[in-house]
């Protein structure tokens, strides 16, 4: 019960510590899903009593915290994975590394990684951001590598021929050409991070996972309501980054809107590479 305690007690203080004040009792005449929706939109008394839970305001705070840790994790992952992916892709080495990272990444469950950190490293925002960041690295790294490798070698040779430095080739030729695939990787990572931030409360970081992990306070309605919000936020993240990915894709390469694109090409590693 370490996580979430802060929020609950804050609300208790606000409500004056008196049950029944400031919020209505939990409704008992609603179906499961309507109850959950009610939880999202209006405050109610907690299951254990003595506190107000749910409603737009609390979920909003939790969502802000949820997205904060996610964004920090994603930015961290970008700072690490992007340069490595660009460098490996540019020199054309490390295919084994790029592919292994994604294979190993898949084999380590998020919960196991989180539990490991909590047990051995510690709790808190930074640690959880590191866990989420570690999850975000493989897709970005692999896609950046693959994206750069897919840049037309003739174009690169021509650029070298007209006197661009290696750095300029990466920045002006390979990076722009790889951008759509890189963004596909970022999108994958972002969705994974936002989804996994749900279990951040295990590391003492507020997120939309609090109502899910504390049914003793939030009840079944809180669990389900938060699950709905988490699902919507993840789908929204996916859609938003899908829009960005589309925007950075040169027009001729775009898939038509009316035909749903193949999303998340398996880390955009062509199947032949994935096999080896």
């Amino acid at each position: 019960m370490a996580a979430g305690g802060g929020v609950v007690s804050a609300i208790v203080a606000q409500a004056g510590g008196t049950p029944g004040l400031g919020c209505k009792p939990a409704p008992d005449d609603l179906g499961t899903f309507r109850d959950a929706v009610d939880f999202i939109f209006s405050q109610r008394e907690s299951v254990s009593g003595g506190a107000c839970i749910g409603g737009f305001e609390e979920l909003g705070d939790l969502a802000v915290s949820h997205m904060s840790v996610s964004i920090v994790a994603l930015l961290g992952a970008l700072v690490i994975a992007l340069p490595i992916g660009l460098a490996l892709g540019h020199i054309g080495r490390g295919e084994f590394l790029a592919v292994s990272v994604s294979n190993v990444g898949r084999a380590v469950p998020a919960l196991a990684l989180l539990a490991f950190f909590v047990a051995f490293v510690g709790l808190g925002f930074v640690n959880i951001a590191i866990v989420l960041g570690l999850l975000a690295i493989p897709p970005i790294l692999t896609n950046t590598y693959v994206g750069v490798r897919q840049a037309d070698p003739d174009t690169v040779a021509a650029a070298r021929g007209v006197g661009l430095t290696e750095g300029q080739i990466v920045r002006k030729i390979e990076l722009p050409l790889a951008l759509p695939i890189i963004f596909a990787g970022i999108r994958l990572s972002a969705v994974a991070v936002v989804a996994t931030a749900t279990i951040a409360p295990l590391g003492n970081v507020q997120s939309l996972g609090n109502p899910i992990l504390e049914p003793q306070n939030y009840g079944g309605a809180g669990q389900l309501g938060a699950a709905i919000v988490v699902a919507l936020i993840t789908l929204a993240t996916d859609a938003a980054l899908g829009g960005v990915q589309r925007a950075v894709t040169p027009r001729p390469l775009r898939a038509p809107l009316w035909r749903p694109r193949i999303r998340r090409t398996p880390l955009a590693v062509p199947p032949r590479t994935e096999i080896s």
Binding site: R106, A115, T198, D238
Partner: protein
């Protein structure tokens, strides 16, 4: 299992007398003594993963064969399975609870939903990548559509299909750590096992064993599918050598 139960179990079984458990260190002796208690979560985990991938494969394979004949099925299938894939697994387990109740069934339904996109996409990619001239030669020689599918297209799509199974299996093993939210058991329960009495931290030895077992399970499954892949595609090795 509550945190207190875990702690009780830990203390009762601590015969080492070194205080390792009380200090929440990494305790090989404790692990040796308590390895039994991981056996049934591991079996549950294996059951969840294998069943889900098997059911997911059956569904995705059927859909892929339909999409192979009727191209228009591909788009909607990818859209729907893609949305399923995006929903966070914890949310999916909870969203299913009111519909399917607590237990294995719910966990498997959610896990199956996650495998669909990966498997469907790899199977259709595999079928699409079959060299066109092999199919037209087969048709010209008088193989029926069914024979072309069984003798030519499916064997040639094998590498991609098995690559899909590898990804689906490792992903499912990972997601199944969260199945206990739906009452599905598995190794996740051990990893979660709350933090009561250990200063807010999980018991380290426990994390290492439970986490290690999930990673081992995922890697072992990966290895099995990789071996099948090698055995099922002798022509690739022959050509490479």
């Amino acid at each position: 299992m509550t945190g207190a139960d875990v702690l009780a179990a830990i203390e009762i079984r601590d015969r080492t007398g070194t205080g390792c458990v009380a200090e929440n260190g990494f305790c090989p002796d404790w692990i040796a003594d308590n390895i039994d208690k991981y056996w049934s979560p591991l079996l549950e985990h294996v059951f969840l993963s294998v069943t889900s991938v098997a059911i997911g494969f059956a569904i995705a394979f059927t859909l892929a064969l339909l999409a192979h004949r009727f191209r228009w099925i591909t788009g909607p299938t990818i859209a729907v399975t893609g949305a399923l894939y995006t929903v966070p697994s914890v949310a999916a387990f909870l969203l299913l609870l009111p519909i399917t109740g607590r237990g294995n069934g719910t966990a498997i339904v959610a896990l199956v939903a996650y495998t669909l996109l990966i498997l469907f996409r790899n199977i259709t990619t595999g079928l699409r990548n079959v060299p066109e001239e092999a199919v037209s030669a087969a048709r010209g020689m008088g193989l029926t559509d069914g024979q072309i599918l069984r003798q030519i297209e499916l064997p040639l799509a094998m590498p991609e299909i098995l690559a899909g199974l590898r990804i689906a299996f490792t992903t499912t093993v990972g997601l199944a750590t969260l199945a206990f939210f739906a009452g599905g058991g598995g190794l996740g329960e051990q990893l979660y096992s709350e933090r009561a009495g250990t200063g807010g931290l999980n018991f380290k030895s426990n994390v290492v064993v439970a986490g290690g077992l999930t990673v081992l399970l995922a890697s072992f499954g990966d290895l099995i599918f990789l071996t099948i892949q090698r055995l099922a595609t002798p022509w690739r090795r022959a050509v490479a050598s």
